[in-house]
């Protein structure tokens, strides 16, 4: 494997792409080549870093230097000064309003400093289009554990003990939702993910899907095992083309690696997953409307009961979880219920 002395993590979330990431990337590539540094400095495109207002942004490791508001014009100087001569470029660093001196390190910038990253544990640290990088950060270890060492009841018990509640906003206890569905006998059940983030100005699910698509898929695999589902849909709004693209790539990689499909990890468990794109109706973020939409009908909510755990998609028992909820599932399975409980807010 090639060895690089630095990794440049260039943000390629929707915000930064819109403000010019791809042009900056091309300029960086050209300049590194010109300086003969292309085998020493590696450019990695990441998901949303979170600091979209000053995009395109990038962080340079191992130095941990954070650059913002990059432009094509600045790249030649940046490459010469920082990557060749080891003098980070102050002009492109973060500055506090009213302060003169820049803050060079990402870990010292107030916006990042107080963040404790769990659901966004891989944002900006991995290339979301490479399954190996997710695996390098303990990806699919939780799915392996859940599929080969745990029963459905054990998974549900961990989820219940952890106290996790739906992160979509309604806050229904996830473990309980899974338990209801697991108890309904049926040959066909569905594990569903709600990526129809419709609230204006809300982008937390998009960030997760763009930056760490495999975390969502892994959460769905574990959920599917818990409820006994062998089919799933990721319902993602079509207005998130980058999220759709990265999830689609991730699903393809999973099929190739045997992490979706038949007999995952030789556990005898099968799970098939596909994306269904929403067509831009706010109401389809509501669970019963979302299921109707997947059925090809007009996305109208219907009264409950019956609840989806009994009659959901195509009237089969179904569980629908939010993106952020699912992305936490691998963490809970790996680190245990007490770990999660010790970190949650008290209700």
């Amino acid at each position: 494997m090639e060895r690089f002395r630095a990794n440049v993590m260039l943000c390629a979330g929707t915000g930064c792409v819109a403000s010019g990431t791809m042009k900056v990337k091309a300029a960086l590539q050209d300049e590194l080549k010109k300086r003969g540094l292309e085998n020493e400095i590696k450019i990695v495109l990441t998901g949303c870093n979170g600091y979209c207002a000053k995009g395109p942004v990038m962080s340079v490791y191992p130095d941990d230097i954070f650059y913002q508001a990059l432009t094509v014009e600045e790249i030649p100087k940046l490459v010469e000064e920082h990557f060749l001569k080891g003098r980070p470029c102050q002009k492109l660093m973060f500055k506090e309003p009213e302060e003169k001196s820049p803050v060079p390190l990402m870990k010292d910038i107030p916006f990042f400093k107080y963040q404790v990253l769990r659901v966004l544990r891989n944002k900006g640290l991995i290339d979301p289009e490479k399954i190996e990088e997710y695996i390098a950060r303990d990806g699919y270890q939780a799915a392996a554990k859940a599929l080969t060492q745990m029963t459905s009841q054990e998974i549900i018990q961990v989820m219940k003990n952890s106290g996790i509640r739906g992160r979509g906003g309604a806050g229904f206890p996830t473990g309980m939702k899974w338990e209801f569905c697991s108890k309904v006998p049926s040959d066909v059940k569905y594990m569903l993910c709600n990526g129809d983030e419709g609230d204006p100005g809300a982008f937390m699910d998009r960030s997760v899907m763009e930056a760490d698509p495999h975390a969502v898929i892994e959460g769905m695999i574990i959920g599917a095992k818990a409820i006994g589902a062998h089919n799933g849909y990721l319902y993602v709004r079509a207005e998130y083309p980058l999220a759709v693209k990265r999830l689609q790539l991730a699903i393809g990689q999973c099929y190739e690696a045997g992490l979706l499909g038949k007999n995952i990890f030789d556990s005898g468990f099968d799970f098939d997953l596909e994306i269904y794109q929403g067509a831009g109706a706010f109401v389809c973020g509501e669970e019963t409307a979302l299921m109707r939409s997947i059925e090809g009908k007009r996305g109208m909510p219907r009264p409950r009961p019956p609840f989806p755990a009994h009659k959901g998609l195509w009237n089969k028992p179904s569980v629908l979880n939010n993106v952020e909820t699912l992305a936490q599932v691998p963490l809970i399975i790996l680190n245990g219920a007490d770990w999660y409980k010790s970190r949650r807010m008290h209700h």
Binding site: Y61, P62, D63, L84, G86, Q141, A257, D266
Partner: protein
Amino acid sequence: MPRLTIDDLQKIKEKYKAEFSLREGGYRAKVTVHMGTCGIAAGARSVMTAMMDEIANANVKDVIVTTSGCAGLCAREPMITVEIINQAPIKYCDLNEGKIKEIFKEHVIGGNPVEKYALVAGCETTY
């Protein structure tokens, strides 16, 4: 990619360890090559390449190489600073590729500073 087994997950993680120790900061030693104009003119690029090659050939995954500017002693370039985490950084001067091999083996891997090439203990910050 072939079907993955649980063992493969660990193998992939191991394979990417060097890259992620860069990103996550879990490295054991840091080698800083001084790459000011003076350093480059005196041969810092080949010194750095030599160090990178040593690391790659030994397949060591917990050592990083970084660069910094002129340390102010242009006459003694090329210079590097070797810092084993939690030990005093050591600055080496008047280097060439042969000395790099020795420093890599003795100090970076062995943990014992090579006194005959060392200039001083201590280092400026790298930003």
